[in-house]
Each structure stands twice: as C-alpha cells, then as structure tokens.
Amino acid sequence: MATPKKTVSRRGFLRNAVKGTAAATAAACTTVVAAPPEANALQRPPKPLPPDAVGLLYDSTLCIGCKACVTACKDVNHMPPDVGPQQQAWNGGPGNPTWDTPVELSAKTLNVIKAYVHGTGATKDSAENGFAFIKRQCLHCADPSCVSVCPVSAMTKDPQSGIVSHNPDACIGCRYCVLSCPFGVPKYDYNDAFGEIKKCQLCKQRLAQNELPGCADVCPTGATLFGRSDELLKEAKRRTALKPGEYAHYPRGDIAGKVGGARSGHEKLVEATYQTHIYGEKELGGTQCLAVSAVPFDKLNLPTKVPETGYPTLSEGIQHTLYAGMIGPAVVFGGLAYLAHRNTKDHPAENQSEQ
C-alpha cells in the first residue's frame, strides 16, 4: 500500500502522489468514518441484555452514606482492608490499619460509596451547596469491553444472568480489561508479586444459594436494590417520575421479594427532585446495574459523554470485517507466497552457497 508505482515519471511524481493519496484517502475516510453508525460496515450490531439479566438499582436520594454495603462486601468476598496514603497517619500507620477506609474502587475494594460535596454542603441531594452519594461497583454491561478485550477468556459474561466474572486461573495479567473499561471498574493489585484482577461479580456465589449480594442484603434504606434488570429499569422509571412532596413506597432487598426472602420496604416523602437520566439505561449499550439521583451524574464523577452503543461494536466491527473466516489473510498469504516463491528464484544469493 505504501509503495509507489514504478511507472510514474519522476517529474510528475510528486504532483500525482499528492493528488492520488488525497483522493484515495478522502474516499476511504468518507466511507469508513462518515457513514452513520447503522450503515457502518465496520460496526457490529450491539448485544442485547441476556434473558435473565440481574443487577442492582442504586438510588442516591435514599443513600445515607452509612457504608454498610462496603463492609458487607468486604466480609462476604473476604477482601482485605484498604487504607489510602492519606489515611495512614490517623489510621494505625502503614500495614496496621484500624479502619477500612477505601476512597475508590481498588483490588481490595469491589464496592465503594463516594460523596459529592459542593459549597457549604448543607443540603442533601443538592448540586448547589449540597452533597450526594454515589455507589461504585461493576455495572455488568450488556456489551462489556472487558470481555471483548480479554485474550484468554478470563473475563466472561454469563449467557443467562449476564454477570461478568473473572477467572484468575486463566488470566495473564495484561490489564487490557482495566484499560478498556469505560467505567474504570476492574482493578489490578500492583503491590503484589502475584497480583490478581478484582471486580464485583454480583456475589454470584451467594445468588447460587438464593442469598442477596452483600451490598443489597445489608442496605437499610433500600438505596441498593437487587432484582431482574428489566424490573429494576421499570422501578427506576417510576422513581424518576416522582415529584417532591409525593409519598412513595421504596422496596428493600430483592425487588421481587424472592432472593433472600421478602423484606418490608418503607413509605417516604419524596424530598429531592430526581434527574430524569437513569444511569446505565443507555450508556454504552446499557448496563444491568442502574443508578438514579437528584444530582447530575457528571457531578458524581461518572462518565456521561459516552455513546449509546458499546465500544466493542467498533473494535470487533473492524476485526470481524478484516478477519472474517480468515479469508482475507489467507488470500493475501496466497498472493505473497506466490510472489515470494517466484522472486526468490531470481535472487541468486538464496540459492548459492557463499563465503
């Protein structure tokens, strides 16, 4: 592709080269880049949610920041305490922490509550002079980048429940999942010679025993609610339509009351004005875990300027086009082999002994 035609005269070469390359590149670019996504041959169709997709609905307006979910997550997943460098001075010193004080997801923390604070921080769920909480854990994408990039099938998405889980016995530690996740979820332990990738797996070991994920199990207000993703989306839509001053019922545990047994919810006066944006409904092809909030999600440090189809549709689109059935490479190899076979005969150096 990069080699010029020998027949071009030297004089006109430059002019022709400029014209030719400009025309060719313009044509190539226009077809590839300017085509609308649905007509883009280099984009594969998005993946739908699996039939029995389950997830969590996090309601920031219900969250009181008690972090019981963080503790429960550590307990049920046997994760060590996580103390950042800023906490060590008052928290027992390096290597001897008194409290578990994670501020961000890490290889030791699969679930964390973070706080947004603005101005005086007086009013809950207010973007101005207020504060709000956000829960971070794996969103279990419909079309996860981490699964698409993993070269050794260590990251997999369950075809039924849609839970994205990780197998350290297959993992080579390339950290492409860490790099590719649009939500910054999978984490690697850089301080361990045998570090593993860690991420929330929706407590699949507990679900198998009809128990709730640790975080949803202990949440006292129902801010973290477990359920089928379609039911959670319905619930999220109900909440975002609520108006301040209305009374509303908020369920707790499993929205269907099955996993972990039926739990009583509570009636509550709606105080904050919900954003209409349901985080995870459309982001990157949708996620099984959703969030609703009164404070815009970009203020809660979630990526909001993202497309409505997952990035794997683009990268896999390129690969599936170029390498469909390996026909392209096979044809190219045939041509190259023919030329190489013919031409090596012309090169005496390959056929005569030297020295």
Binding site: R10, A26, C29, S106, I172, L339
Partner: protein, 399 residues
C-alpha cells in the same frame, strides 16, 4: 541495519570480526545489569514496587515504548523483505539480512518486554492454548501474530547461522522453503502492526478525538512502514556520515522517495480523517493539542525535506529527514497509547518512574549489545573490500 551495500557487487555476507569487549558493549552490558536488578525487584514485590502504573494508567512505557514503539523499530525486516522479495527489487537484497536481524531483536525484545509487563506472566502460554482463546480479542490476534512472526524471523535469519557453522545441507533445504516464511514475514506484520492500532479503538472516549478513529489500524500500519524505511535510511546514513564511507546513494534515493510517499499518505489521511470526523478544531486549543502539533510538524518537516530531489542524495538532509520521520512515528504511537489517553474516572496521573525508564533503557541496550555480538560473529553485514573499516564503523557507530 548498517547495511554497507554495494548493489553492484555479487552479494556476500561476512562477520566483521574484531574485539567483543568494546566500550559501547560494556556500557550496554552495565545498563542491562541495572535493568536486571530492577526486574528482580519487580518479580519479587510486584509491578508497583518499581513502576508508577496505576488502575488509571494500567499500561505505561513498558507497553507503549518497549512493545508498541519497539516493534515498529523492528519493521525494517518487514519493509525490506516486502521490497526485495514481493516487489522483486533485487537492488535491496544486501539490506535484507541486517534488516531481518534488527527485526529479530526488535520483536524478540518486544516479546520479552511483554513478559516483564504481564501481571500474571506464568500464565502467558494461555495465549497459545486454543481452549483459552477469545477470538474477539484484538490482543489475542496481536499476541499470536507477534509470537509467530518472531519464529518466522528466526527462520528468515537462520541462513546466517547455518552459513557460519557450515551446515550446508540444512541451509539448502531451508532455502527451498524460505519463500513460505518470507510470505509469512510480510503478512504477519501487516496484520499485527495494524491491529496495534485497533487495540486502542475500544478505549473510546478515553483517547482524545485527535487520535481516536476507526482508521487507527491504517495509521499504525502506515507508521510501521514509514518507521521501517526510516530506520534503514537512518542507520545507513549514520554510518556513512560518521565514517566518510561512500553512501549507497542510488538505493537510499529510492528509499527516500518511498518514505516521502508514505509520509504524504499519512499526513493527508490524518487531516481528512480529522475533517470528516469534525474534530479538526480539537487541534486548536483542545487538550493535548500541543502534542498533536509536535507530531505533525515533525512528520511534515521530515517529508518536506525530501521533496527536492537533490536532497534525497544528500546525507545530511537524509539524516535529518529520517530522524524527524522516526520521531514523528514514535510520537504518534506514544500519543495514542499514553499522552492522548485520559482515564475515565479520575483524576489519575502517570509519569514513568526512574526504575521503569531504566528497564526500558536496559531492553534497548540489550538489543544493541546483541547487535554488536551478532554482526561481529555472524555473516550479517554485506562484505566490503576494506575489512577494518567495517569493523571500526560498526563498533564506533554505537558509541
């Protein structure tokens, strides 16, 4: 690489001989030993003990420079084999063997760098096990291609060994099937060098719109070819500039023209791509726009130097131009893998630690040290009449 080719002579390769323990060799050895000590720490205490990697920047210079840029340095063998055997330009023949050897080291060490960077390196062989394979993964394709290509390079370079140790029968047998490996040696880099670009498509919004495009594979293939040509020209001119050896002007003229074409295609595509995506405005005041301009000015400067035909025969112009084009290719790849990348849930910061840098330096020092040993002991470089000059040139060139 420093191909002292005399296109009109009958081709014959010779070891250049001379002492092994020269100053450049010793300096490189010391750098390799330092890197080895750091790596002992890395394997004993984890990546965090020696690197500034984080979950925001899980890939640092060990990936971006050692693997992504290092393998582009290894594209000399790719482009020379393409010219010589596929496009049947016999005049490049004396340049092929040194280029293949340079590629062998480039790729071999890129592979070694992967093992340094992998967090669970003891599982690396899972990449080759079909039951672990995940065919949607661009990295799987890159990994398999690079591993296969390294083996292909070993076979392509094997005649030099076989000549040296007089295994004539095997050499003849190998020569009969060498065309298969030559074809693979052109196909595989075309595949994985473009896929190195595709690898960053999936990071989406985290890569600045100045670089994020579906054309990443095209740009990576173009920089691979460009850097392949540029490194051949650079090394050749370097040797003749410093040691007043006759330049291989006719061949270099042609290579210069090829560099010009590839650079022109790259710049034209780059601008059209930005225009079509409506992101050209990002170049004016957008984040990381400065790096875009450094990259573009280097590329345009390098190609403008080659437009006057007379310059393509001038050693200084060629040296300057190939240096600028190499730097442009390096910076383009660095921009895509590190500089243009912003983690999504931040803030995160990354600048390589001294130890990280010393490991990268050690990898490249090992490459140079191996090069010195190989050209002295194996028939790699094209033979010239004055044996002492070659030996001197090769030793001092790396000083």
């Amino acid at each position: 690489m420093a191909s002292h080719a005399h296109a009109h002579q009958p081709p014959a390769h010779q070891p250049v001989g001379g002492r092994l323990l020269t100053l450049p060799f010793l300096v490189c050895s010391v750098l390799v030993v330092i890197a080895a000590f750091i790596l002992a720490q890395r394997y004993g205490h984890g990546l965090g003990a020696v690197t500034n990697l984080s979950d925001g920047y899980p890939w640092g210079i060990w990936v971006a420079i050692d693997v992504v840029i290092g393998s582009a340095f290894g594209c000399a063998g790719y482009v020379m084999a393409l010219l010589c055997y596929i496009l049947n330009k016999g005049e490049y023949h004396p340049m092929v063997r040194p280029a293949v050897m340079a590629s062998l080291f480039g790729y071999g060490l890129a592979g070694a760098a992967v093992l340094i960077d992998l967090g669970r390196y003891w599982h690396f062989y899972h990449l080759m096990m079909p039951w672990y394979a995940q065919p949607n993964s661009v990295m799987l394709e890159v990994g398999l291609c690079v591993a296969t290509y390294t083996l292909v390079l070993v076979v392509e370079f094997a005649p030099a060994f076989l000549e040296r140790f007089g295994v004539e029968g095997l050499r003849r047998k190998l020569n009969r099937v060498l065309w298969v490996f030559i074809a693979l040696g052109v196909l595989l880099p075309t595949m994985h060098q473009s896929s190195l670009g595709t690898m960053m498509v999936i990071v989406g919004h985290k890569l600045s719109p100045l670089w994020q495009t579906q054309l990443l594979p095209v740009f990576f293939l173009l920089t691979a070819v460009l850097m392949g040509f540029a490194i051949v020209v650079w090394e050749s001119v370097m040797a003749s500039l410093n040691f007043r050896r006759p330049m291989e002007t006719p061949v270099l003229r042609k290579l210069a023209r090829l560099m010009l074409v590839v650079a022109l295609v790259f710049v034209a595509l780059r601008i059209v791509d930005l225009l079509v995506r409506g992101q050209l405005g990002q170049a004016f005041g957008g984040p990381q726009a400065g790096w875009f301009w450094v990259e573009t000015v280097l590329m345009v400067g390098g190609l403008v130097l080659l437009i006057p035909k007379a310059n393509r025969g001038r050693s200084r112009a060629l040296f300057l131009s190939s240096s600028m084009l190499l730097a442009a290719g390096i910076l383009y790849r660095l921009n895509v893998y590190l500089i243009g990348f912003t983690p999504s849930v931040g803030p995160w910061h990354y600048f390589p630690s001294v130890k990280e840098i010393m490991v990268t330096v050690g990898v490249f020092a090992l490459e140079i040290a191996l090069y010195l040993v190989f050209v002295k002991k194996l028939p790699v470089l094209h033979a010239i009449e004055d044996h002492a000059t070659t030996s001197h040139a090769v030793q001092a060139k790396h000083g």
